[in-house]
Amino acid sequence: MRSSCKGRWAWLTALFVANALAQSLPERLQLCDACHGPGGISATAGTPSLAGQPPIFLENQLVLLREGVREVPQMAAAVQGLKDAEIRLIARHYGAQKPAAPQGTPDPALMGRGAALALKLRCASCHEADYRGREQMPRLAAQREEYLEYAMNGYRRYTRKGGDTLMAAALYGVSDAEVRALAHFLANHR
């Protein structure tokens, strides 16, 4: 029996705030897993998988979330008071987890369009040929589809702050339908 992450958000927030200073790393990780899934493989819409993400990417994003540069209300309490050293440990932990396998059912036509776009936009030149990511550039393969779409739209519309301007530049002129095709392709990429 799994209650929804959303439902647990209120008590998680309370727990985070109460224990912000007293938590050990395993306790912290348990709380991360509560929303991001066991081992960082998310089964929750809108919540990204963390497993197998490059540690530098996770580290930098956690700092941006802590500082409120990236504004994600669900994360605000979770990262409040985290020290840089703790962030590094959390990033290392999820970086070492076995990444998710694709969860959806691929639509062949959409997969084809997404694959062609990814090639044209040269996504692999930074995110690697298998889209596993590297350094500050995240793993895209088997990330949740709706999350990929949300993230790309954040770059396009300048609502996701703290990143380089490169992703906004990389997605310049790409349409909504194309973003959907890219997200579908990457989420189902094997």
Partner: protein
């Protein structure tokens, strides 16, 4: 019929990809599989014990120390009259204030959550902060740390594109604020408000475009005697390991064209934007600064601590290349202009940050320079969020 269909398909394809990723524009098919990508920065603090300062190499008689650390992403530095140093950042969105407390430095965050507040300048006791989409002024901040900023954004008419539009800013000897507006792409025909250097009155009025054809300048300063403006400029990407090289330019008068996007370095024609006589009427650089070097901060040295040969010569930080298979830069160069300012020699001065050029292994990236009243020179390391102090002692 077949041809019409083909043409229609081509046209459709061109429409879809009319605006390819800006920073990859111009990536030729031969480099399609290249894995070169911008180098990762860090948002976390680096303790002094994790900075391998002993690896820095300097000419004989010079010494280096870690002067301050704990300012992730810190880059351009502006010094106030009381000695406080203000530092801008890019992605992290912070501006730091570094205070020297007699042999020990502390830092605090003046403002955060801005969109790449790279530009910081002190003028008349006020701190000016320029982000991609915001201009703030903190009056008397050194004495009043909690002063609320005056928002000057509306006066500066900042254009919407973000790429290459984080700022280096500085006040000139004329009391005006100099602000670059980079090309919003790797290589493109820039819209009219980009690829230029402008100057404004301190309150944002009286805007003038003083140079065009400038791709992405991240550092400039004025010659101590001639008062002419010298600026560094980043060359375009994806034309190979050899360049086109970054530039060091001199503005002898307002209104000059420095070549972008048609003419790069010392007369290299662009591979994508071809124009007959593309370098005609273009002011070529005083010297080139190396391929993809990422030339950043620049100062003329006028202090009394360094040997006389350095007097009125330039120091230029080269943050180091990403768009190159064998890495280049990651150092501070000493540049000595000729008397007429038409040419210059470039010699590496502060090195050791790049450990393996072929493997791309480095630990630090020198970004900006500041001459201190005692004649020593501060060097910011954007990679580790630290400031190093270079001094000279007669041996």
């Amino acid at each position: 019929m077949k041809r019409t269909l083909l043409a229609a398909a081509l046209l459709a394809a061109m429409t879809v990809y009319a605006q390819p990723p800006a920073w990859q524009q111009g990536k030729p098919p031969a480099m399609a599989d290249s894995k070169l990508a911008p180098l990762a920065g860090r948002n976390t603090e680096t303790p002094a014990s994790e900075i391998p300062i002993g690896k820095v190499k300097l000419p004989k008689g010079f010494a280096v120390e870690i002067w301050a650390t704990g300012m992730p992403g810190g880059r351009a530095m502006a010094r106030g009259d009381s000695g406080k140093i203000y530092m801008g950042t890019r992605g992290l969105g912070r501006v730091y204030e570094v205070t020297d407390e007699g042999g020990r430095r502390t830092s605090r965050v003046v403002v955060d959550k801005l969109t790449q507040p790279a530009g910081v300048a002190m003028h008349g006791g006020s701190l000016y902060v320029m982000a991609i989409d915001k201009v703030l002024r903190y009056d008397g901040i050194e004495k009043n740390p909690d002063v609320q900023p005056v928002d000057l954004t509306d006066r500066f008419n900042l254009p919407p594109q973000q790429h290459h539009n984080w700022k280096y800013i500085a006040f000139g000897p004329d009391g005006k604020l100099y602000v670059p507006f980079g090309a919003p792409c790797n290589i493109c025909e820039p819209p009219p408000e980009y690829a230029q250097i402008r100057r404004y009155n301190a309150d944002g009025s009286g805007m003038e475009v003083i140079a065009r054809g400038v791709r992405n300048t991240q550092g400039f300063t004025w010659h101590p005697r001639t008062k002419q403006l010298w600026f560094t400029d980043h060359g375009r990407d994806w034309m190979g390991d050899k360049g086109p090289e970054d530039e060091l330019n001199r503005i002898s008068k307002a209104g000059l064209n420095f070549g972008y996007p048609y003419c790069h370095a010392k007369g290299v024609l662009d591979a994508d934007f071809k124009k007959k006589d593309g370098c005609k009427g273009v002011t070529l650089p005083v010297t080139t600064m190396g391929p993809h070097a990422a030339v950043m901060g620049v100062i003329f040295y006028t202090g009394s601590m360094f040997p006389k040969e350095y007097q009125n010569t330039m120091f230029i930080a080269r943050k180091g290349s990403w768009n190159r298979t064998v890495k280049f830069g990651f150092d501070v160069a000493n540049v000595r202009p000729s008397k007429d300012g038409r040419k210059a020699t470039v010699k590496r001065f502060m090195t050791g940050f790049l450990e393996d050029a072929k493997a791309g292994k480095f630990w630090g990236r020198p970004a900006y320079l500041l001459q201190m009243p005692d004649g020593s020179m501060l060097v910011s390391d954007e990679q580790l969020g630290a400031i190093y102090r270079v001094s000279y002692a007669k041996k």
